[in-house]
Amino acid sequence: MGIVELQNVRKIYPLGKVQVEAVKGVSFCIEKGDFISIAGPSGSGKTTILNMIGLVDQPTEGEVFLDGKPTSKLKDAELTRLRHETLGFIFQSFNLIPVLNVWENIEFPLLLGKTRVGKDEKKEWIDHLIEEVGLSDWRKHKPNELSGGQRQRVAIARALVTRPQIVLADEPTANLDSATGEQILELMKKINRELETTFIFSTHDARIVDTADHIIRLRDGLVTENRRREEIVAAACAGSGA
């Protein structure tokens, strides 16, 4: 069993009197340390799946396993604790807390939960992350004083500060220009390699999809492709050889 496993997951949303089935029985497995892309057009169910993996939403049917443990029976407080301990989040709109500066935004998740980190250790780790994302000169700045790329870098540092096993990124480059988007993706990949953190990101941008080690394609709430990069490359090579 991988670090994340979805077994026949369905998600139905009530939309007025109509029931919308956003995810229609999806199963897949993600290995630890993967850099995985969930790709598909708008409305294909990417965000819904990411939300269920991130425990911010619960499936209507099926089960999401996190590190081998089922999550559907957990209560809200337990889910919140598990999210805090296991997962990091990067949002499309950055979602930084506007009243906190760069340093404080990154520090914020460390102040939640019961585990307390020593003051010096905390400072050293946050400073390291700030340096890693290239914002050493911006630590006292508030989010509204930063560019989109800088904000997303803060979000990446914030997602990593609790040393989570998995980082979920919902369209992390959607609100950025292509050059900045590439830099952000490079940064995520570098951290994936260095810290062996599993990165799961959703995107509808084909160029970004190709940077992933493992690609899951969705259409209308169903998985249409689930292959590792080497398989895709091998298939492509085989195709060109024939």
Binding site: D76, A77, R83, I97
Partner: protein, 440 residues
């Protein structure tokens, strides 16, 4: 939790105008209530102090003798045992006054009015001249044996001027009808509802009309250095009188039905008892003015009602504003929940914000009220003001009991928490996915 409180505090600065408006509404409500509390706090002391000056004492001793046909006669024939007891009590007495009084009908050119006339030793009671300002006439004219000072209200009703001669019909201490003639020496500025109580004449002439012998009088007043020592000193004097074997009415008497004030019960006590010689009654300005406490209680109740009414209105505004705030920050709530903030943390954030707002507004309101009190108390309304009895030397004065101020702040904090509890609960109930989906 400190992080959540810190964010809540900083959130107040996000919409400065909105925060200032809400804070100002709270501050205004608190200011009004604090002003009323401050006024009520000083009201009782001011009225008692002013009355003690007009009535010439903080502690009073009056004598009653059983006359012919068992009729009660108000008289002090020999006060040596009384003055000895006052001296022995150690009470901080500034001076001792002697007065007699009657209730009679003043008649002038067919016009009649019933009033109390106080006979005072006006040559000795110099403080009365300072307190009772004359609109017309002069205190110097009081050297005339039959001189009388009336309040403006009574003088107007009788249509008299200084120098006019006024007939008086009254009863002697024995209950016999008597007639006298006063010469109007002065007209005092009207003191509002208490105006009719203030007619002053020379003690010697009032005694003559009452049928008392020279040297006799009805009430001894002990003027202390201030109101605060009144009750302790009264207890001490009463104990000394008791030790000296002076006949005394029981001070602790209370009306069991609750229909009378303790002072009224004390007065009525003499009708139920029989004795020989003079029996003395000791009472204080506080007991005489026990109804003032009811006025203060009414003022405090009014302040509390205003506080609640104002805050019900303000609370509606606060609830609406925080509901709006919740929708504005819905994405932020989703983010915080996703990052690991529990439902309680989200609720606390809103409640902290409300408490900070309430405390800020309440403290500002109290400061504003204190500034207003200081400003108002600088204005000299003069001793001729109709409201001089509730003032201190012609100035409005305020006393804000610290516990009342703290109580108001706590009430406001609780009401604000109540107002915010519903939007806070709604925010806490949101699932992270719901909040993240709804964000702008």
């Amino acid at each position: 939790m400190n992080t959540i409180a810190n964010i809540a505090f900083r959130n107040l600065s996000r919409q400065k105008k909105r925060t200032i408006l809400l804070g100002s509404a709270i501050a205004f409500g608190v200011m009004i209530v604090t002003l009323i509390n401050g006024f009520a706090g000083a009201f009782s002391a001011n009225v008692s102090e002013n009355f003690s000056n007009l009535m010439a004492g903080h502690i009073f001793i009056s004598g009653t003798e059983k006359g012919p046909n068992d009729k009660d006669m108000s008289v002090i024939r020999n006060d040596s045992s009384l003055t000895t007891a006052v001296e022995a009590s150690g009470a901080p007495a500034k001076y001792i006054t002697r007065r007699s009084a009657f209730s009679g009908t003043l008649i002038f050119e067919g016009k009649k009015i019933r009033t109390n006339v106080d006979g005072a030793q006006l040559d000795k009671e110099t403080f009365l001249r300072e307190r009772l300002l004359l609109k017309d006439g002069s205190w110097d004219s009081m050297t005339n044996e039959t001189a009388l000072i009336l309040s403006e209200k009574i003088a107007n009703k009788l249509n008299v001027d200084v120098g006019d001669r006024i007939l008086v019909q009254m009863q002697t201490v024995n209950g016999q009808n008597n007639v006298g003639e006063f010469t109007l020496a002065g007209i005092s500025f009207d003191a509002g509802i208490f105006g009719q109580m203030m007619s002053y004449a020379n003690l010697s002439y009032v005694n003559e009309l009452l049928g008392l012998a020279p040297g006799e009088y009805q009430t001894m007043g002990v003027m202390l250095d201030g109101l605060k020592n009144t009750e302790v000193s009264a207890t001490e004097i009463y104990a000394r009188l008791n030790e000296a074997g002076v006949q005394l009415f029981d001070r602790g008497v209370k009306d069991e039905t609750g229909a009378e004030t303790p002072f009224q019960a004390l007065l009525r006590q003499q009708n139920k008892e029989s004795w020989e010689g003079v029996k003395y009654r000791l009472f204080t300005i506080n007991e005489m003015l026990s109804q003032i406490k009811q006025i203060v209680a009414a003022l405090d109740t009014t302040a509390a009602i205003i506080l609640v009414v104002l805050f019900v209105i303000i609370m509606v505004g606060i609830t609406n504003t925080f509901s709006m705030v919740m929708f504005e920050r819905i994405g932020e709530i989703g983010t915080m929940r996703a990052l690991g903030v529990q439902r309680g943390g989200v609720r606390s954030m809103f409640l902290y914000e409300a408490v900070f707002l309430a405390l800020g507004g309440a403290i500002a309101g109290i400061i504003l009220a204190l500034i207003a009190m200081a400003g108002i108390s600088l204005i000299n309304f003069g001793m001729d003001s109709p409201a001089f009895l509730i003032m201190k030397n012609g100035h409005m004065s305020f006393y804000l009991p610290p516990l009342k101020a703290v109580g108001n702040v706590i009430i406001i904090a609780l009401l604000t928490l109540l107002a915010v509890s519903s939007p806070a609960a709604k925010a806490a109930k949101l699932t992270p996915a719901e909040a993240l989906r709804t964000q702008k």
